[in-house]
């Protein structure tokens, strides 16, 4: 059960301002997969995009990150698989603990490649590789040095089934990944991310570029996938968060404003800012 006890006063109507008040650590009763602790993030230009984030990630649950554009959702999400390491001079502060091993995901001593093998990511725009459907899904195994054809065959099929794409492509595995529709491409990217059995799956607005039917399929898929993998999803679509997320985090200006069970956030937010955002008064 989560609660946040921030009560900064807000001038109703106009967009509220946060002045970096300390955010208490939300507590939940579910078992945890990860725990973000006093997390700050600085981009290479010195801009601090995240301020003192404290947030639990429940094991085998869906956690949604919501908030107005530019509030730092993608920045936070991309910290879980160390995408920021791709660009020099980006800086993390604080800890993101991966459980049960109790290792710090953003610790400089950890190899980002090791982390990306355990934390997979699906992007906003479908980004298949210029390869066949089969090779797209097998990519993660191949970069891990896997060469056993039978094993790869098995994993590719399992991943494509897991991404609800198998029946549509099983006769065309040699066709280019680009030959698929946008929604199919996105499910191909999900299959690609699943093929290596990740512990956490990150989604950054995975349905923003898709039609309603493809969106519904991906949403069903996310709910199905949480049986085997912990999911963190960024979304701009409130209904989507309400439909698929178990926990929701509302962020604003690089801060975590409120974190709670999804139904709690949507029916009875404890922070007036959350309520204002959910009712469309800003953002």
């Amino acid at each position: 059960m989560g609660m946040i006890t921030d009560s900064s006063t807000v001038s109703s109507g106009s967009a509220p301002q946060l002045a970096h008040p300390p955010t208490p650590v939300p507590r939940i009763s579910d078992p945890l997969k990860a725990q973000v602790e006093s997390f700050n993030f600085f981009y290479a230009n010195g801009f601090q995009a995240l301020h003192g984030i404290n947030m639990p990630i429940a094991d085998n649950q869906v956690t949604a990150l919501i908030g107005p554009s530019g509030c730092g959702k993608s920045t936070l999400l991309r910290s879980f698989n160390r995408m920021h390491d791709l660009y020099s001079k980006n800086r993390y502060e604080g800890r993101i603990i991966l459980l049960p091993e109790n290792i710090n995901l953003i610790g400089p001593e950890l190899d980002p490649i090791e982390i990306r093998m355990r934390v997979s990511m699906v992007f906003q725009k479908p980004n298949p590789f210029p390869k066949s459907i089969y090779e797209n899904v097998a990519f993660g195994l191949r970069v891990r040095g896997e060469t056993n054809k039978r094993y790869i065959d098995e994993r590719v099929e399992k991943a494509l089934r897991g991404a609800a794409l198998w029946d549509e492509v099983k006769d065309n595995l040699d066709k280019s990944g680009f030959a698929l529709s946008g929604g199919q491409q996105q499910r191909l990217c999900i299959a690609r991310a699943l093929a290596t059995d990740p512990e956490i799956l990150l989604f950054d607005e995975p349905t923003a570029a898709l039609d309603p039917i493809s969106t519904a399929k991906i949403e069903d898929l996310v709910v199905e996938l949480k049986k085997t993998v912990t999911i963190i999803i960024v979304t701009h679509n409130m209904q989507q968060a309400a439909r698929i997320a178990d926990y929701t985090a509302f962020m604003y200006l690089g801060q975590l404003v409120e974190f709670d069970q999804t139904n709690q956030i949507f029916t009875n937010p404890s922070n007036p800012m959350t309520e204002q955002y959910l009712t469309g008064r800003f953002g």
Binding site: R116, K125, F129, T196
Partner: protein, 399 residues
């Protein structure tokens, strides 16, 4: 080409109203002038290409169709003063093959046979049976036509010899060998540089390195030519000497190596542009799967930019095939039908420049041969361009 011209694009905007009609007269004139300039610029390259092909064809067609008159002289017989025609084996109007007997002579010192120095039709014989002729005097005219067979089957190129030969293969072999040596250097080195520049080096280092790399392509080729001849060639002679291989001062190896250095920037710079044009999501997608930088570069970025990389290779090949100065200086200019890079040989372009430097009469077959060779050069380049086009079509990026 034509889709660059505004004329074709405006046809699509006629839905609703024509933008060009909305301004005043002056504006319309201005638009018209700009449109005209764009159109001329757009089609000029097509016009120039067609013009070049027309010029080449206008000399190549006569090369194969206008016969050349060959004169044959009476033979020399040791000890004789004059010769008497004893028999005309091939009278005027008959066709003879090269080497076939034409006229038989007798003399006190012995008999002799005059053979055709070229195939063709006997045009004229200055004498008949019983005529006494002096030695080494013009006796027979043969109307000789260069055939496609002479051009494509013969393996010697010697258009200015008394007995001219037009075997283009001896030049094509030189062009292919030097080009292959150059590509052997430029493609691996250029591609590795491209990968390194796009994936490994710091952006500010790249900003300095890339222009300096491009300078390599700006060095005058005559400088490269002497570099190949005076520095690379002796070094290669020494290196090969250690393996017991002797090589002359003129050789295709040094010319090809230096040509390879010259075309590295074409490969590297354009391939790097193509690799960096790959969308950031694809690159991040690869890293997000746990791929290393090498894996990302080789398994994702290179396949994703294959069409651009192919273009870079094709441009480099075209540049190598047409390169003249380096090969003319360093590879020797003696046509030589061989693919052995340690040999000296002439390329098509070197043979053209060599023939042009002499003073060939403009009406001669030897002069027209230059254009036939030039057309071959163009066809080879065209071949690579078409091959590149097909590869690009096959691997067109779909992102």
């Amino acid at each position: 080409m034509t889709d660059l011209s505004p004329a074709s694009s405006t046809t699509e905007t006629t839905v609703g109203f024509d933008l060009r009609r909305t301004g005043n007269t002056w504006q319309r004139i201005k638009e018209g002038i700009i449109e005209g300039i764009l159109f001329v610029a757009g089609i000029s390259s097509v016009v120039i290409t067609i013009g070049i092909v027309v010029v080449l064809l206008s000399e190549t067609i006569p090369f194969f169709t206008v016969p050349e008159t060959k004169t044959i002289y009476t033979p020399t017989v040791e000890g004789a003063q004059t010769l008497t025609i004893s028999k005309i084996i091939a009278p005027v109007g008959t066709y003879v093959d090269k080497g076939a007997p034409v006229v038989e002579f007798s003399s006190p010192a012995g008999s002799a046979v005059l053979t055709a120095t070229a195939s063709g039709k006997i045009l004229k014989i200055l004498g008949e049976v019983g005529t006494t002729v002096e030695m080494n005097k013009h006796l027979v005219d043969i109307s000789h036509l260069v055939t496609l067979r002479d051009f494509f089957v013969d393996t010697l190129w010697a258009p200015v010899f008394d007995d001219p030969r037009y075997g283009i293969w001896s030049l094509i072999s030189g062009t292919l060998t030097t080009t292959l040596v150059a590509l052997f250097v430029a493609i691996p080195v250029g591609t590795i540089i491209a990968i390194w520049l796009s994936e490994y080096c710091y952006p500010n280092v790249r900003e300095v390195l890339k222009p300096s790399l491009e300078l390599l392509a700006a060095v005058p080729t005559v400088v490269y030519g002497y570099f190949a001849l005076l520095i690379v060639s002796p070094v290669m002679q020494w290196v090969l000497g250690m393996f017991g291989i002797t090589m002359g001062g003129f050789n295709m190896l040094s010319a090809g190596l230096v040509m390879g250095i010259m075309i590295i920037p074409y490969v590297a710079s354009l391939s790097e542009d193509a690799m960096r044009a790959v969308p950031i999501q694809m690159r991040e997608g690869s890293y997000a799967m746990g791929a290393t930088r090498v894996q990302t570069a080789l398994r994702v970025l290179v396949p994703a930019s294959l069409s651009g990389i192919t273009s870079a290779y094709i441009l480099a090949i075209a540049r190598a095939v047409g390169e003249t100065m380096i090969v003319a200086l360093a590879a020797g200019q003696r046509p030589n039908f061989t693919l052995n890079p340690t040999q000296e040989a002439a390329t098509i372009s070197a043979a053209i420049v060599q023939a042009t430097l002499g003073d060939l009469p403009h009406d001669s077959t030897a002069y027209r041969a230059i254009f036939a060779a030039g057309l071959m050069l163009m066809l080879i380049t065209l071949f690579f361009n078409i091959a590149g086009y097909l590869i690009r079509k096959r691997y067109r990026e779909a992102y």
